[in-house]
Amino acid sequence: MKRTLRMLAAVLMGLTFAGTAGAQGAAAPQTQKAPPDYSAFPCLSYTQPCGKVATRPPVSKALDGPLNGNAEKGKQLAQARNRGNCLACHVIPGGSQPGTRGLDLSHFGSSGRSDAEAYAMVWDMRTINPETLMPPFGTNEILNEQELRDVVAYLLSFR
């Protein structure tokens, strides 16, 4: 045990220096980005305006016209950490490091859900389960209308 601890310490020391170099790299202007602004949504502040923003109530969204989603684009959106990130909670085909809390969606296309049902779920799962952990992708504008259709087309392609 002590031996592995010593080795670990050595590794940690090595990383300190790697970390320092990384920090310098991050200070370079081309990699600097303004932090994202989420102040349109509720926050914990006692004084800032976002502290007074209310939760957006659940929305039952009816699918307008045919789905017309692009499954290929949907795949990108579902896997990207900064977009749908469905993979954070769900197992989806071909995704690496899937999450384990949501359901396995690998055969969702065979579950008998219509386009409209699947669309409404991703738009706002709270309409089905008020205490869901799943973010309301449509209501909170995490995905826009077309992106949401793309993701649903992708989901429904899993047989």
Partner: protein, 305 residues
């Protein structure tokens, strides 16, 4: 409500809003969704994890950690160690130790300018050993709750007129040094103090309220039945019990120190919630809540994660 000319629809809306507000614990709060309350008993301190995540059996003592060290190699079970196995590493090569030395040097330098800096940290005595374990606490003279970092900021300002903002390296280094002088001392936030308990209750509210674009609460990831214990891509959220004992910590992946409130901000970014500045009153209340959930567990600073 006395305006007779108001349209019925508007009156109905106003009434509905009043009803909503009245139904809320804090009358002036906007409508917010919440994660169901896990009913934590503050009096139990860290032992509240029994019947909660029940992982404390693996990390309660060093002997428990040694006995369950094998869990660290099991991806699906590693989270049960609450990362406390990292605390067994107490040898001098540990990078967090550098911060202790740097923090000690900073205190020495500041106390050389005015010895009152040290007696301010020690609340009337130059001896600061063991004192960090009682934070956050209510300071009667100041009339507010102070964390260790808040005390450092306040002493630097009041004694030396110097700004040592919370969450910035000089403050965090001094905090590491200050807390290292309480290493092994059980966390003991005074829950008998009314002001402390008021802060605890506000922090508790914050823990369960859903925020941000993803509409999640801290509890969405850190209580049983939530995402806790489940893979969230590469990570697995753990129990909130015992966490504050090893903060501020040295973050190996980025090679930098991180204070507890900077960690709150990092979770907030993950939740796509507007993060607050370290030292913000809402974060201080959240720190009170989380530190009460560590009561009884020994301080383990310096640490690395």
């Amino acid at each position: 409500m006395h305006d007779r000319k108001r349209t019925p629809a508007l009156t109905a809306m106003a009434l509905a809003l009043c009803a909503l507000a009245a139904g809320n614990v804090l009358g002036e709060q906007p409508y917010r969704e919440r994660y169901p309350d896990a009913k934590i008993d503050p009096a139990k301190g860290v032992e509240g994890d029994v019947g909660f995540s029940d992982t404390i059996q693996y990390w309660r003592t060093e002997a428990d950690l040694e006995r369950n060290a094998g869990l660290a190699d099991k991806p699906a079970e590693q989270w049960k160690l609450n990362w406390k196995h990292m605390d067994l590493d107490r040898i001098d090569l540990h990078p967090g130790h550098l911060a202790v030395d740097e923090g000690a040097a900073l205190v020495k330098k500041l106390a050389a300018r005015d010895p009152a800096f040290l007696t301010c940290l020690g609340e009337g005595s130059a001896e600061i050993k063991g004192k960090a374990a009682a934070y956050p606490k209510f300071d009667v003279a100041l009339g507010r709750i102070l964390t260790v970092e808040g005390r450092i900021e306040q002493c630097a300002k009041s004694v030396l007129g110097e700004d040592l903002p919370q969450g910035k390296p000089p403050n965090t280094k001094i905090s590491v040094y200050f807390k290292s002088l309480s290493a092994g001392v059980p966390t003991k936030v005074d829950i008998g103090n009314t002001k402390v308990m008021e802060a605890y209750r506000r922090g508790e509210q914050s823990f369960y309220v859903r925020t941000g674009q993803l509409n999640m609460a801290c509890a969405s990831c850190h209580v049983p039945g939530s995402i806790m214990g489940h893979k969230l891509r590469g990570e697995t959220p753990t129990t909130p019990f015992g966490d504050t004992a090893h903060y501020p910590t040295y973050r190996t992946p980025v090679g930098a120190l991180e204070s507890l409130q900077e960690r709150f901000a990092r979770c907030h970014n993950q939740m796509r919630t507007q993060p607050l500045k370290p030292g913000d009153p809402a974060y201080t209340d959240l720190e009170v809540f989380m530190t009460v959930l560590t009561n009884g567990y020994p301080i383990s600073v310096p640490s690395a994660r």
